[in-house]
């Protein structure tokens, strides 16, 4: 298959764009694979790609019940950052950040990772201290972080209400310059195409309905397109983890599914040049390359698999964005949508072997799965290939709850909706 480049674009333009080939094949499932990855979202596709690229395991199928990228990879607000507090999280997300920085080249697909910076606004002295603590943790972990004064913030982000008379005046801001946004769909498609080129079978419209077992051992899956056997079965179905695990007989699991809404305004000329988050509530906003302001806030705060939210959560988000950028009140909301989040009990993911022999688990991403995609795929592939975790995912076990080693970035404890 041809490399994508400016030259290939030109050549194809001259032939009327008639010679482009499908970005990936549409194979029928084979009866047997070395590894089956359930879930054709970002994490599943990345896992398949790294299995092939890093471990030479190419006899791999990715099973997707809908279309590739139909889960949260296509419904998020596209923020990429590694501005975490706890060392376990910092190591993991910074590893991801480094993969992001070369991802377009690695995949030969422009995922449009734009390092325009993520700025977290603090609105009280206490919050400023907490953010500085996090920023310093980043610096000690080798991650870029800067503290901006309200004056520096006013210069960097025009339109922000930086006045002292704001309801929650800005006390300062934590900036991660290397953070930014990427084009979410392109990440799914880039991994899909790159995995396909290495021989991975990407099978759409193929829902897993059950697991094949030999005693406790998982030996494959039954699907809407027939039984498929595999030595190893890996789950990357964040949002539906509990549902799929129930088909393997695991009835209770430390995850709740919640709906999170996201919003986009009508497209306007460049308005804001970095990602900004509002600390006196919960809001994150950036502007897409097309010009729409992309933003989101808190969960709707109830269990849901419906991919649709309700008005109160939407109204909260709108009131916060107007408090942050009073000019935005005049702009118009174009579209809203909902995604189903795997909310874990400490706000951190689970990437591990088990809980059954032959089964591997990647779940619990809460709001934060998009930025994790490369590291998640990388470390999950490592875990599947070697039957032991990579250093970056070693702390993200299921047994951490048993040991009391929760990785709780927000300090909210086992109340999933608060993470």
């Amino acid at each position: 298959m041809a490399e994508y480049s400016a030259l290939s674009l030109l050549k194809n333009a001259l032939s009327g764009n008639r010679d482009w080939k499908p970005a990936w094949r549409k194979p029928d499932p084979k009866p047997r694979y070395d590894v089956i990855v359930i879930g054709g979202g970002g994490h599943g596709l990345a896992t398949a790609y790294y299995l092939a690229a890093e471990h030479g395991i190419t006899n791999v199928a990715v099973l997707e019940k809908g279309w590739l990228g139909s889960g949260n990879i296509g419904r998020n607000t596209t923020i990429v950052r590694s501005n975490y507090l706890l060392p376990e999280s910092l190591r993991f997300y910074e590893f991801s950040m480094k993969l992001w920085e070369n991802l377009s080249h690695e995949l030969n697909y422009n995922v449009m990772f734009s390092q325009r910076g993520v700025l977290n606004l603090a609105h009280s002295p206490g919050q400023a201290d907490a953010f500085i603590r996090r920023g310093n943790a980043m610096r000690h972990g080798g991650v870029d972080a800067e503290w901006l004064t309200p004056q520096e913030i006013a210069r960097k982000v025009p339109g922000l209400d930086t006045s002292g008379s704001a309801r929650f005046p800005i006390a300062g801001g934590l900036l991660q310059p290397r953070a930014g946004t990427a084009r979410h769909d392109a990440v799914a498609w880039g991994y899909a195409r790159a995995a396909d080129r290495r021989g991975v079978d990407l099978i759409e419209n193929c829902e897993v309905t059950g697991f094949l077992r030999d005693g406790d051992q998982i030996t494959g899956v039954s699907t809407t397109r027939g039984d498929i056997r595999a030595k190893k079965v890996a789950l990357a179905v964040a949002g539906s983890t509990s549902r799929v695990l129930q088909r393997a007989g695991i009835e209770r699991f430390p995850i709740e599914s919640h709906v999170l809404q996201a919003f986009v305004s009508e497209a306007i000329k460049p308005f804001v040049n970095c990602v900004v988050t509002f600390g006196a509530g919960h809001l994150y906003m950036s502007q897409s390359d097309k010009g729409g302001l992309v933003f989101g806030g808190s969960l709707d705060f109830y269990n849901s698999y419906a991919q649709r939210g309700n008005l109160p959560a939407a109204e909260d988000v709108m009131s916060e964005i107007c408090a942050m950028f009073p000019a935005v009140a005049r702009l118009r909301l174009l579209r809203s949508w909902g995604g189903v989040m795997d909310m874990s009990m400490d706000g951190s993911p689970i990437i591990t072997r088990g809980p059954l022999p032959g089964l591997y688990l990647n779940c619990g991403w809460c709001y934060g799965g998009f930025k994790a995609t490369p590291a998640s795929g990388y470390s999950f592939a490592w875990t599947i290939a070697r039957d032991e975790p990579h250093a970056i995912n070693a702390p993200f076990t299921l047994s951490r709850f048993e040991r009391g080693a929760a990785i709780d970035e927000t300090g909210h404890g086992p109340t999933p909706k608060l993470h």
């Binding site: 994508y4 480049s5 279309w67 139909s70 206490g126 907490a130 310093n136 769909d185 009073p326 005049r330």
Partner: protein, 997 residues
């Protein structure tokens, strides 16, 4: 006289002339015009530029579906971008600007993009701009450089940074029946429901009800249809139980039949009256909903179909009939269905000239033929428009023989002169709300349209929404829908008389003419038919992939005109049917909504503010206030020229030297009462409260179920079954909810009642060696000596006539008392305390001094109880009762929670005489370049007036084991590095002699 305005006719008020400007040029129109109709009347055909190729565009529709002419309104001193000209009612002084062009609409540099045509087709950006793998532009740099230019070229209108000066309102409404759409069907439904005694709200997005009847030229009960609907509307206004909401778009269908609507209250007048809302956000909870949202016309996709002058056929009809505006001097109609013939007749009647009717169908019915005759033309059947001529305005169309079966053009293309081309590809019911309500539309092969699904919530469809496009159907289905919502069966009573529908409602299944040149599917995002086929070629064949890869349907019109043609082209490419190709799920909002309107009253007033009863006093006495959650609290009371640091040091020193007073009203306060109150407290606190004597207080600690520290505070036993619990300010709400959960869910058998009394009590803490002396000077009704009021004792008395409750407890380590009184007496008691303290130079102190005093004592607060620390981490193990279980005791001993190497509480002392900093980290070794591995962090710091040093509290790996060692403070964010000594967190008076004395 405007060049395209008819001499007579239309529903505009020709007596009223209205002046407005577009791109700085002055124009006139009439009352009743939209900006689009007024521009057309003035012969302005070029009115916009497209998103990607910057192609010249003109008005394409007459309603909410307008993809081309979006303008920026300049109003109330701010810019409002991307408003469809078809949705703007003109008023005197209206100022609008075209968008996405530089330097002008006529001469737009961005049009150079058209040269790149094939190079910049769908998804081109995924394949390039990746840049070099080495050198200065490696990584993401090259892309970001390209992206800069892409971003400047993209976007539509320009917003400014000025705050929106408007007010927005929010209204909650309840009704039996919400009728969405005020056309014939909606009006009939509303009347039927209202007659049956139902409370009805009818929302119509246009300024007037009537919909299609306003421009259909039909006769109802012998009256012009527009007059008939006006009379019916008038009748509806006479019902007390009916509320009509014009200019109100219902845009969201949420759970439990909750619908969201936006009323554009004052956008149609020059100025919103002072204090009034520009727009109103309605949340309507309806028992039943009637969806009478009508249908939108679809275009046919053919080469050159975007030239200014090409317009939907139904739109030309509306402009001619409702606004008295002709679309051009010579109009060609191009259609796959009969409805365009009615439009042609309407143009003819309004005085226009029909150059031709081109119909893809080989044969047409008698009714259509008769209409063609009336329009003065012989229809060119079996033919199609295969191209257009002109640049910034249409000058002609190329007509060619066409086989609707095979979709092929043949023979010579014949040029026909025209300056207006009216296109109809049939009609698609507006199903957005039904789709939002949670069900999938169903394809109807005969009507070539998606029809409503089975309802997933309580709604009933009516009129064109059901795919019934005649007015006769609208009358009947509207009335039935209204009756159904009223729980009644369909009526057989006489309906208003109307000529029967003779036209064939089924269009030919032709939505694209394939020829040479760009044929647009999504006008606003410049997605062409070839882009759809490219997506197919590259495997992006599912509807969602198509949409995401090409951006089809994602512009501000959300695919209202492009959705079905795009699907048809993809289905054809895949060799499958349209329903097999699928349909996307519609998401709110149906039409764009001002973000400020959704924020409504909270725009400019985000969250409630909480003030303590003494707030005014603090402000009058020079306090600098700081936010603490929703509260405002004094930070310091700085005197002239004093810095914050100087002020808090002075305040804290005064407490240690003599006496100070601080407002503690913000502490959470919960009355815990009932026979089982003590048992209850034993279960929620780690320590025991059942042994507490009446008239005494005790410090308590709560854990979460997972064994992590949750909150602390004192609880006072006021009576055998009567406790007053205090919580931290930050956790007041969370603790209350936690306790309520415990009682309702865990232990419903306990006889305990909880009341939040935070706002009922004002509190002042008096601290310092002279604190008792101050109280002695003002408290009556009780003694306050050490015997009557020992440490942790409680007394009741009065201060200057106000009842007070005094508890002797200390956060500062000094002899101290918390004085509580009814909130209404707060300032009075505070002033009395100030007066009593005068001889001792009593000093009011704020949060900073409060913090300094507690740091000196090593008391923990939210910075240390941060949701990750255990009681042991904070050396509060002594509070964990071994005699009874409590919340958190089940899991608090898990191995990782009792690891000695956890981050644990210590004190630190600055060894270089410089400030520490909250959030600074501690390392064993490191430098500013290589910060080294963090072993902990500073949670709080201050200058200690008692120790005359900068000190702090920190959570450090290993905790106590490090006492007496030196570590480095590392604060790379603020570039502060220095040496500190690790010490006990009890800096000052560790044995508590001062507070017990």
């Amino acid at each position: 006289m405007s060049p395209r305005r008819t001499r007579t006719g239309g529903l505009i008020d020709r007596a009223r002339t209205i002046r407005f400007t577009f791109d700085g040029e002055s124009y006139t129109g009439h009352a009743g015009d939209t900006l689009a109709s007024a521009l057309l009347a003035n012969g302005v055909s070029l009115a916009g530029r497209s998103f990607k190729y910057h192609r010249p565009r003109g008005v394409f529709s007459a309603g909410i579906d307008e993809p081309n002419v979006l303008v920026t309104l300049l109003r109330e001193g701010v810019r409002e971008p991307n408003i469809p000209a078809t949705q703007i009612e003109i008023y005197d002084g209206l100022r609008a600007e075209s968008q996405n062009r530089f330097p002008s609409l006529a001469w737009d540099l961005g049009a150079v993009n058209q040269l790149g045509g094939r190079l910049i087709g769908a998804g081109f950006y995924y394949k390039t701009f990746m840049g070099p793998v080495i050198g200065p532009l490696k990584g993401t740099r090259f892309w970001m450089m390209c992206e800069h230019f892409i971003r400047c070229a993209a976007g539509l209108g320009r917003a400014d940074y000025e705050a929106d000066p408007s007010r927005y309102e929010r209204v909650n409404a309840f009704c039996d029946v919400l009728v969405v759409g005020g056309g014939i069907a909606g009006l009939m439904a509303a009347e039927a429901a209202a007659k049956a005694g139902k409370r009805v709200i009818l929302a119509e997005q246009e300024p007037q009800t009537g919909g299609f009847a306003r421009w259909s030229d039909e006769t109802l009960d012998g009256k012009p249809a527009h007059q008939w609907v006006a009379e019916l509307t008038e009748r509806l206004t006479r019902f007390d139980t009916v509320r009509l909401l014009p200019r109100t778009a219902v845009w969201g269908y949420y759970d439990g039949n909750t619908l969201a609507a936006l009323e554009r209250v004052h956008d149609h007048v020059a100025r919103t009256p002072k204090g009034h809302a520009r727009q109103r956000h309605w949340t309507i909870r309806a028992r039943d909903v009637v969806l009478a949202t009508g249908a939108l016309e679809r275009p046919i996709v053919f080469p050159g179909n975007d030239r200014p002058g090409v317009m939907l056929a139904g739109a030309t009809r509306r402009y001619a009939t409702e606004f008295g505006v002709l679309p051009g001097n010579r109009t060609i109609f191009f259609t796959n269905n009969d409805s365009a013939y009615e439009a042609a007749v309407a143009i003819k009647r309004a005085g226009g000239h029909i150059a031709a009717i081109v119909d893809v169908r080989p044969r047409i019915g008698d009714a259509a033929t008769a209409l063609a005759t009336e329009a003065g033309v012989v229809p060119l059947t079996g033919r199609a428009v295969a191209g257009t001529k002109g640049s910034r305005a249409l000058s002609g169309a190329l007509v060619q023989a066409f086989d609707a079966e095979t979709g092929r053009l043949s023979g010579e293309a014949r040029p026909l002169e025209c300056d207006s081309l009216a296109v109809s590809g049939g009609w698609q019911p507006v199903l957005h709300l039904a789709s939002q309500a949670g069900a999938k539309p169903v394809w109807d092969e005969d009507k070539q349209a998606f029809l409503p699904p089975e309802p997933a919530q309580r709604w009933t469809g009516a009129g064109a929404f059901l795919g019934k496009f005649s007015s006769a159907d609208a009358l009947a289905s509207g009335r039935d829908a209204g009756l159904k919502c009223a729980g009644k069966r369909p009526s057989r009573a006489r309906l208003p008389e109307i000529a029967p529908e003779a036209l064939n409602p089924a269009p030919a299944p032709v939505l694209e003419i394939r020829g040479r040149g760009k044929a647009f599917v999504d006008f606003q995002h410049d997605v062409t038919a070839d882009d759809v086929r490219l997506a197919h070629r590259e495997g992006f064949v599912s509807v969602e992939h198509l949409k995401r890869y090409t951006t089809l349907g994602m512009a501000t019109d959300q695919g209202k005109t492009s959705n079905v043609p795009g699907l048809a082209i993809m289905a054809a490419a895949r060799g499958i049917t349209i329903p097999e190709a699928g349909t996307t799920r519609f998401r709110p909002p149906y039409s764009p909504v001002a973000i400020g309107a959704l924020a409504a009253e909270r725009y400019g007033d985000l969250k409630p503010e909480r003030f303590t009863p003494m707030h005014d006093w603090h402000v009058e006495h020079g306090a600098e206030m700081t936010p603490a959650g929703l509260w405002h609290r004094p930070l310091v009371y700085a005197s002239a020229g004093e810095t914050v640091e100087q002020a808090y040091i002075r305040e804290a020193a005064a407490v240690r030297r003599s006496v100070g007073i601080v407002d503690v009203s913000t502490l959470g306060k919960i009355a815990v009462k009932g026979p089982d109150a003590a048992t209850f407290l034993d279960r929620v606190y780690t320590n025991t409260f059942s042994t507490l004597k009446v008239g005494k207080a005790r410090y308590g600690l709560m854990l979460r179920e997972d064994g992590i520290a949750f909150d602390d505070g004192t609880t006072w036993r006021l009576g055998e079954t009567d406790f007053l619990m205090t919580t931290t300010t930050a956790n007041a709400g969370a603790v209350m909810q936690h306790l309520e959960y415990c009682l309702d869910v865990l232990w419903p058998d306990l006889r305990v009642h909880l009341t939040s009394v935070t706002d009922q009590w004002a509190g002042a803490a008096i601290a310092g060696p002279q604190a008792r002396a101050v109280l002695e000077r003002c408290v009556t009704g009780t003694k306050v000596d050490n015997e009557t009021l020992p440490f942790m004792g409680i007394v009741h008395g009065q201060i200057d006539g106000a009842l007070v409750m005094i508890c002797r407890l200390s956060f500062s380590g000094e002899r101290a008392y918390e004085v509580y009184c009814g909130a209404g007496h707060g300032q009075h008691v505070w002033e009395a305390l100030m007066e009593a303290g005068e001889p001792f130079d009593i000093t009011p102190y704020g949060m900073e001094a409060l913090g300094a005093l507690r740091i000196e004592k090593g008391h923990v607060t939210g910075a240390e109880i941060d949701g990750r620390t255990t009681a042991r981490d904070l050396y509060l193990d002594w509070m964990l009762s071994k005699k009874k279980p409590f919340i958190g005791s089940g899991l608090m001993d898990r191995p990782a929670l009792i690891d000695r190497n956890r981050l644990r509480l210590v004190g630190i002392v600055s060894l270089d005489g410089q400030k520490l900093g909250g959030g600074a980290h501690l390392v064993e070794r490191g430098s500013s370049d290589e910060p080294g591995e963090s072993i902990g962090h500073v949670t709080a710091y201050c200058y200690s007036p008692a120790l005359q040093k900068y000190i702090g509290l920190a959570l450090v790996r290993g905790g106590k084991a490090r006492h007496g060692t030196r570590v480095l403070l590392s604060d790379p964010l603020r570039r502060r590095f220095g040496q500190v000594e690790v010490v006990s967190h009890h800096f000052f008076d560790p044995d508590g002699e001062r507070m017990h004395g």
